[in-house]
């Protein structure tokens, strides 16, 4: 039963519950007109305490396409935060006005704190470098669509694995499926945190600094951006940002049915020439993101 639940991290939902969401997403993709009024008279609060274009638009588009309405802010300086209101007070107050809340915040653990006091479902739309569960739902739906199953895959994740919240959420979610192996490709300075590795069976993953050497083993290559805002100094950012770039030459060594995913926005970690490769699915991934958010909203509101 998903009605009334929060989504703070992907592992909070069982595999069966996720399948319920993906099943509904499939139905919405097939016949979106059947769902265009399902959220009529429902209101979503979109609380964005840090800049985001894609995630915010994706949620807004999802709610509007379901016939619901959206209120909120995308600049905390215009909200009561600027007056020093605590997150606890903010969420208790906003809970009185709306049916569901979406929150993005630069500090880690914020969505969990807000969910503790909220009277309506809270969806974590990213909390610092910690978790980004709806991106994970997007990723899982994309994998499920292209690979027909979420079991038996070798997933290579490449880039900023230390601060990349989409990566953390993806690994936490995928390790629950059968026979999933991981290859972590990153510079030494941006290795995947220990608490994520602790979840995995020894032997189900290995770490490397060389994308070229391992690309041929992957069924799925998940590229990520090295984010400027996660670095202490500009020098460190410039030194590491170009570390691993996917090029058409590297793609020659990849399997024919490998898919390349990326949470977007891309900076330069995937050469533009790769876009025309049929294995590059990152722009379709964004569309799956909107559909899976539509399904999630409907499920948490208990409308299906």
């Amino acid at each position: 039963m998903l009605k009334g639940r929060h989504l703070i991290e992907p592992s909070e939902f069982s595999i069966d519950e996720l399948e319920e969401i993906f099943g509904l997403a499939d139905s919405i993709i097939q016949k979106p007109e059947d769902y265009s009024e399902i959220c009529k008279n429902k209101l979503l609060a979109s609380l964005f305490y840090e800049p985001s274009t894609r995630t915010k638009f994706s949620f807004d588009a999802a709610m509007l396409r379901l016939g619901g309405e959206v209120i909120g802010f995308s600049d905390p300086n215009t909200s009561s935060v600027a007056k020093g209101e605590t997150l606890k007070d903010t969420i208790i107050t906003i809970s009185n006005y709306v049916d569901i809340v979406v929150v993005r915040h630069p500090q880690e653990g914020t969505a969990k704190l807000m969910a503790k006091y909220a009277l309506v479902p809270v969806i974590n739309a990213g909390d610092g470098g910690h978790q980004h569960p709806t991106q994970t739902l997007t990723d899982l739906l994309t994998i499920r669509h292209y690979k027909k199953s979420l079991n038996n895959h070798c997933i290579a994740v490449c880039g900023d694995l230390k601060f990349g919240r989409t990566i953390h959420s993806l690994v936490k979610a995928m390790h629950r499926y059968q026979d999933v192996k991981f290859i972590f490709i990153s510079p030494e300075e941006l290795k995947i945190p220990r608490y994520i590795k602790d979840l995995l069976e020894p032997g189900s993953y290995f770490e490397t600094t060389n994308l070229d050497k391992v690309i041929g083993k992957a069924d799925i290559l998940y590229m990520s951006r090295v984010q400027r805002e996660r670095f202490v100094s500009e020098y460190e950012y410039l030194r590491l940002k170009d570390y691993f770039i996917l090029t058409p030459e590297k793609m020659l060594r990849a399997k024919d049915d490998m898919i390349v995913m990326h949470p977007l926005p891309r900076v330069n970690e995937i050469a533009e020439e790769v876009d025309s490769d049929k294995r590059a699915v990152y722009f379709h991934q964004a569309k799956f993101g909107m559909y899976v958010r539509m399904a999630l909203i409907v499920k948490l509101l208990g409308l299906e």
Partner: protein, 140 residues
């Protein structure tokens, strides 16, 4: 040798690693007690070489969770009418509330006043706990 009289009722915290006695004294808030409290440091010990020891003559309940974090090897002796009635070895608590602080500078608990943060034990060897909000490992 300094002599301290035998306890009639209360708690003796024994086998404290030398140097940890004052930490335990502070964390338990023993300075606020009206009752008799004795902190002995560097007491000769056959097993440990030297140890610290605390005697508390009181009836009040003390939350001893913190002891498991600071020094899980201590022994707690409960005394009544001058006799030992119960002896307890400590274990690391599975969940800790109100003692630890998250060490992650990006954790929301560093920006908002949160009184009831729970920490979950993840590694007995290193005594590491996971913050309920940001999942970062931290220790005492």
């Amino acid at each position: 040798m300094i002599n301290v009289s035998k306890l009639k009722k209360g708690i003796v915290i024994d086998h404290i690693e030398a140097g940890h006695g004052y930490k335990i004294f502070s964390q338990l808030g023993l300075d606020a007690l009206e009752d008799v409290v004795v902190l002995m440091r560097n007491v000769p010990s056959r097993k440990m070489g030297k140890k610290d020891l605390i005697k508390i003559e009181t009836d009040i309940h003390l939350d001893l969770t913190v002891l498991g974090l600071i020094d899980p090897n201590v022994t707690i002796n409960f005394v009544k009418d001058g006799a030992l009635i119960r002896k307890e070895k400590l274990q690391l608590p599975a969940v800790v509330e109100g003692i630890l602080e998250c060490k992650n500078p990006r954790c929301i608990s560093k920006y908002q006043k949160i009184n009831d943060i729970k920490f979950y034990l993840i590694d007995e060897k290193t005594k590491e706990y996971r913050c309920e909000y940001c999942d970062t490992a931290t220790s005492f």
